[in-house]
């Protein structure tokens, strides 16, 4: 039975991705009988290549993806190098970890509200420093270079990479290596970069690839913060995909394949860059430069980066909340003149329906994912070594979901909650697995041996000993999966075929409206739902085991 769970989990990971890709290849070459495409042709490609915005869209995707990944990785390593082992580091990790449960879209909206010409930053500086009496006519959000998009990605990817590094540190012998480097006279940051970083990077390589692929092909964040003329490639694909003229789907499929090729090419480039950097780095490390003086600059920089991200997201979310209750709020006033419940009460009915659907889909997908992960781990699936787990995270959503949507259409299940739940499961499963694998393996297996010695069979050991002892980890894994599901935009949109909406699709759909109060309401709800589940996930085991000191955080 456990074996079966392992295979079910692996199949669930790989099959939808491969099937989705297969479902894209046909239409990309003109073949999709359901839409009248019965002959293979290169017509879709001519359509893509003939699109005047193609060059700019490709350039934008590549540049923003590389920038976001490079900056996120550099900041993450800097933060850890500068502060690991200090009290501040604990504080930093506790501040940034909750950002993981935050949907990308909510963070992007918050950031947009903060940096917009009429946002809090401009208000804070106006008119005394800027002289602005009215919001300046500047394109800060949706800037043509995609810098706002990069910023929106960085504030979300740094917490993710930070958590991955934290998981990798115990296996990197980091504290002792750092101690050796320090005792040889190295500065804190330099010592860490030369002695620990290479070992850590090897372990976080797959998450970094996932960040790179995601940043190059993200849709929801790009809709909120990304450039509009031209758009990044992924957004353009979605536009073709959802075009009323169904024949545009052929072109969308061709562009999806192009997007996949682009991501693969950049991943290969990144890999080559790794090797080159490793060679250079080895020479650099052996060069003996201690970099003691650099700490004075780099440590504040690392702290500043962490603080900046925390502040940007925190203030952004506060701004969302305030806007959702704002009555009249003129520039450059820092606070609204009045507060009102008008928007909230107006949206109450829609909110309830979407919340219900979001929660139902997330509960289903996460419940199934948790059961499969437990079965797979019980069958001996390995943690981070299982590269397959990253497949749905590295193959861009926009590349294979159109194919999956086509299959759903052909099977007649598109637009049902079940199909959306299934699509979410593909992305929830990897995150639940990643959240659960380490604590699962860290469990003292002697407890199982003792239980078996007392006559408990494997099932009883699992249900009466292992799962209760791992209650905290299970709850956290559940919360991670739930948050992942709630945050899904593209799977909901494409598989739901417009008939299933969640708080996320509603929120992102408002991006172009510019209605801040409405966006505020939906983004706040989108953020609050996963956060509420996270709080519950922390409180539930704490309450259940309130009389058991041994179950507290070690």
């Amino acid at each position: 039975m456990a074996r079966a769970g392992l295979w079910a989990a692996l199949t669930l990971l790989a099959l939808p991705v491969l099937a989705g890709l297969a479902g894209v290849i046909g239409p990309a070459f003109g073949y999709l009988p359901a839409l009248g495409g019965v002959a293979w042709s290169l017509e879709p490609w001519r359509g893509v290549l003939g699109w005047p915005g193609l060059g700019a869209a490709v350039r934008l995707s590549v540049v923003t993806g590389l920038l976001a990944t490079g900056i996120s990785l550099a900041l993450t390593l800097l933060i850890v190098a500068a502060w690991q082992g200090t009290r501040s580091f604990l504080w930093i990790t506790r501040t940034l970890a909750p950002l993981l449960s935050l949907p990308h879209a909510a963070a992007a909206f918050g950031l947009a509200f903060l940096i917009a010409p009429s946002g809090w930053i401009a208000r804070g500086l106006s008119p005394w420093a800027t002289g602005w009496e009215r919001p300046p006519d500047l394109l800060i959000v949706n800037d043509p270079w995609g810098l706002a998009l990069v910023a929106g990605l960085v504030v979300k990817e740094v917490p993710f990479l930070l958590l991955m590094v934290l998981a990798a540190l115990p296996q990197s012998d980091s504290l002792r290596a750092q101690l050796v480097a320090r005792s040889l006279g190295y500065g804190r940051v330099m010592g860490w970069m030369k002695a620990v970083a290479p070992r850590v990077y090897v372990q976080i390589r797959l998450p970094v690839y996932a960040v790179l692929a995601y940043s190059m092909s993200v849709v929801d964040v790009a809709l909120i913060l990304g450039p509009t003329r031209p758009k990044v490639l992924a957004v353009q694909i979605l536009e073709w995909m959802t075009h009323p003229d169904l024949s545009m789907r052929f072109q969308a499929a061709a562009a999806a394949l192009l997007q996949l090729g682009l991501v693969v090419a950049v991943l290969v480039l990144w890999r080559l860059g790794e090797s080159a950097l490793a060679r250079r780095g080895a020479v650099w490390a052996a060069g003996g430069a201690r970099g003691v003086g650099a700490d004075a600059v780099l440590r504040p920089l690392g702290a500043g980066a962490a603080l900046g991200i925390g502040l940007a997201v925190g203030l952004g979310l506060a701004g969302l909340l305030l806007w959702s209750f704002a009555g009249l709020w003129q520039f450059p006033a820092a606070l609204p003149e009045s507060l009102s419940l008008r928007i909230w009460s107006g949206q109450m009915g829609a909110l309830q329906r979407r919340l219900w659907d979001s929660a139902l889909i997330a509960l289903g997908a996460t419940g199934i994912a948790l059961a499969l992960c437990i079965a797979a781990l019980q069958a001996g699936a390995r943690g981070r070594s299982a590269g397959l787990i990253y497949l749905p995270l590295i193959v861009p959503q926009i590349a294979f979901l159109p194919g999956l949507a086509t299959f759903a259409l052909v099977l007649g299940v598109d637009g049902t909650r079940w199909a959306v739940m299934g699509a979410h499961l593909v992305f929830v499963l990897p995150y639940v697995f990643l959240a659960l694998a380490d604590p699962w393996r860290a469990w003292d297996s002697r407890a199982g041996l003792v239980a078996a010695g007392l006559g408990a069979g494997p099932a009883r050991v699992l249900w009466a000993v292992r799962l209760p002892m791992l209650a905290r980890a299970l709850c956290v894994a559940f919360a991670v999966g739930f948050a992942t599901s709630v945050a899904q935009y593209l799977p909901t949109l494409l598989i739901g075929a417009g008939r299933v909406s969640t708080v996320t699709t509603e929120a992102v759909a408002l991006a172009a409206s510019g209605n801040r109060r409405l966006i505020g309401v939906w983004a706040v709800v989108q953020m609050a739902l996963p956060m509420a589940v996270f709080v519950l996930a922390l409180l539930l085991p704490a309450w259940l085991f309130r009389h058991r000191q041994g179950m507290r955080i070690g």
């Binding site: 041996l449 078996a452 408990a456 000993v465 209760p468 058991r548 000191q549």
Partner: protein, 212 residues
């Protein structure tokens, strides 16, 4: 009730680490001594039926005249004690004892109370194991094993983490109960005093008898 290690050999990557051929009579103790890493704990894992995949075992294990070599751990009825008490942190003291007590025992609460009394822990059944002292926890762990009515007792340095005064007391407590119940005991340790207190034969992992 005896435990027989019948030409037992445990090898890793072709190199034999453990070679034992002994019979342990009811109530007797076989002490296996050696430095850490010599394969003592591996021997116990093999006896309980949880040998890690990297190891290969030859020979048979007989318990009360029955060949248990092929049985899974929960069917062997060999109770284990480690140097950590390994009480289940999510259960109360009584819950831990109840976990060990076989199903179908009529007066469960009465049996558990009696076990608590025997261990000098009367009235502590509702306590969180984490609030007990090290010695108390060790005694709960032993009573939990005994309530499961094992046919043999396997001890993996069970006294190593107790402080000196407690250690002597706990040794006496464990061995007296094993004798009273007529359980064959295998004790692995690197502490000579443990082996002396056990009073039985003392061997190393190659089966050579060590003079004390």
């Amino acid at each position: 009730m005896s435990l027989r290690l019948d030409r037992l050999e445990i090898a890793r990557a072709g190199a034999v680490m453990v070679r034992l051929d002994r019979e342990i009579a009811p109530g007797a103790v076989l002490s296996v001594m050696g430095p850490s890493g010599c394969g003592k704990s591996t021997l116990l894992a093999a006896l309980v039926g949880a040998l890690p995949g990297a190891f290969a075992m030859r020979g048979r294990v007989w318990l009360e005249g029955r060949d248990v070599t092929a049985l899974p751990p929960h069917r062997r009825r060999m109770g284990m004690l480690f140097q950590d008490d390994l009480l289940f942190p999510h259960l109360s003291v009584a819950g831990n004892l109840g976990f060990g007590l076989a199903r179908g025992v009529a007066d469960r609460a009465g049996v558990i109370d009696a076990a608590l009394r025997e261990a000098g822990l009367e009235g502590m059944g509702g306590r969180d194991p984490a609030t007990l002292s090290g010695g108390q926890r060790a005694r709960v762990a032993l009573m939990r094993v005994l309530l499961s009515e094992p046919r043999a007792l396997l001890l993996d340095e069970p006294f190593a983490k107790l402080d000196a005064g407690l250690r002597a007391q706990m040794r006496e407590f464990v061995f007296a109960r094993a004798r009273a119940r007529g359980l064959p005991v295998v004790l692995v340790t690197h502490d000579l005093a443990d082996a002396r207190a056990a009073g039985g034969a003392v061997v190393n992992v190659s089966g050579e008898v060590l003079g004390l």
